[in-house]
Symmetry: C2
């Protein structure tokens, strides 16, 4: 049952991927626990990128459109998916949301997933990069305790670094745990509140977009 | 499919409930996002209760037995459930774990669920009290964004209050949001790190245990 749901999702995710590439979009699937700071991080990312890389957003939540409203303040087009009791986004939900998004002129498609460090790990949405946030107050052991999510990450963002001192954060322990579970993930440490570390992330995205643009869009 | 899984779980949960009552146990199902401080909170709870209310623990995680080890330091008996990729505990897993726990002399059964603010909300484990933690750094909007979890809570613990200043925490906004979603839940605010607020929680548990003990064990 679960296998067949996932296999169907994987097919629809590849269709999304082909569609995104044909439209010249770099697609991010952004994941974390509730309250890790995804929305603030994305709002600051969109602001920093400005006209250099024009972003549109699809945002998933069980309830409310608070996050969509906060993201709309950036001027970016935003589509909200409300999942009710469903604990993750699926490729089909994303496909439906894409149909509501004005894609002309967009270069970056950001998909903010439901806050959940377990279930969304199993669902490909057609993204190019899977970006997992882990906020400093959550603790250094999380990569070991939620391995599927961190194993599947292309990028790990250590967020809320401004709280490191107040939390007695052990940076070295977290990096050791991350390296064990996700040896190939790119790691960025940042505070969207103070702006510290955001520039490196911006440069990474711009470079990654250029690389993708220079490749064959349906290349494998 | 989902309905039939949940209906089966609900039956097994009632069986657990009858068993716990026959053994004179007060059972807690403790839930939150990853990194809200469940394990530290429970360790301090067990220490504070001491011989007044002897506790045993069942702890669920996708991977590692770090939490079980930290809880064993209190001297309480602990059984670890490792769920692999499963995002929640089910009544049947708890029943199997109870068989491994020495129940003689225990009065409080604490079940620490998988860190997830979505899926565990749907699974009754046979508990008497559902205790949901929300840590200050997660933000004031979480009850609105994850309504099923907060609607099902008997007790809400606002944890990590020592970080309120560093986070610019808006206590009034959180309490307003909580009252909207969970008007009947008992709310405790505390820091397991500083001990602030832990006494009121201890008194609540002792009183609740005495109340339950004075009732008919199979009363409805």
């Amino acid at each position: 049952m679960r296998q067949s749901i996932l296999a169907k999702n994987d097919r629809l995710a590849e269709r999304n991927r082909g569609f995104f590439h044909a439209r010249g979009l770099l697609a991010l699937n952004v994941l974390s626990s509730p309250g890790s700071g995804k929305t603030t991080f994305l709002r600051e990312t969109i602001r920093l990128l400005g006209r250099k890389l024009k972003a549109g957003v699809i945002v998933g939540d069980l309830a409310t459109d608070n996050d969509a409203e906060r993201l709309r303040d950036t001027g970016a087009p935003v589509v909200q998916i409300t999942t009710g009791t469903v604990c993750h986004l699926e490729a089909e939900m994303v496909a439906r949301a894409v149909n509501q998004l004005k894609l002309d002129g967009l270069e970056l498609l950001i998909i903010e997933n439901v806050g959940n460090l377990v279930c969304p790990a199993s669902y490909d949405l057609g993204e190019d990069l899977r970006v997992v946030l882990l906020s400093v107050p959550e603790g250094e052991d999380k990569p070991l305790k939620y391995p599927p999510m961190f194993q599947a990450a292309d990028v790990v963002i250590i967020s809320k670094t401004d709280l490191a001192e107040a939390c007695g954060f052990d940076r070295k322990a977290l990096l050791t745990n991350l390296r064990r579970i996700a040896p190939k993930a790119q790691v960025f440490e940042m505070s969207a509140k103070t702006g510290q570390g955001m520039d490196a992330w911006r440069e990474f995205l711009l470079k990654r977009y250029q690389e993708q643009k220079s490749r064959e869009p349906l290349g494998v």
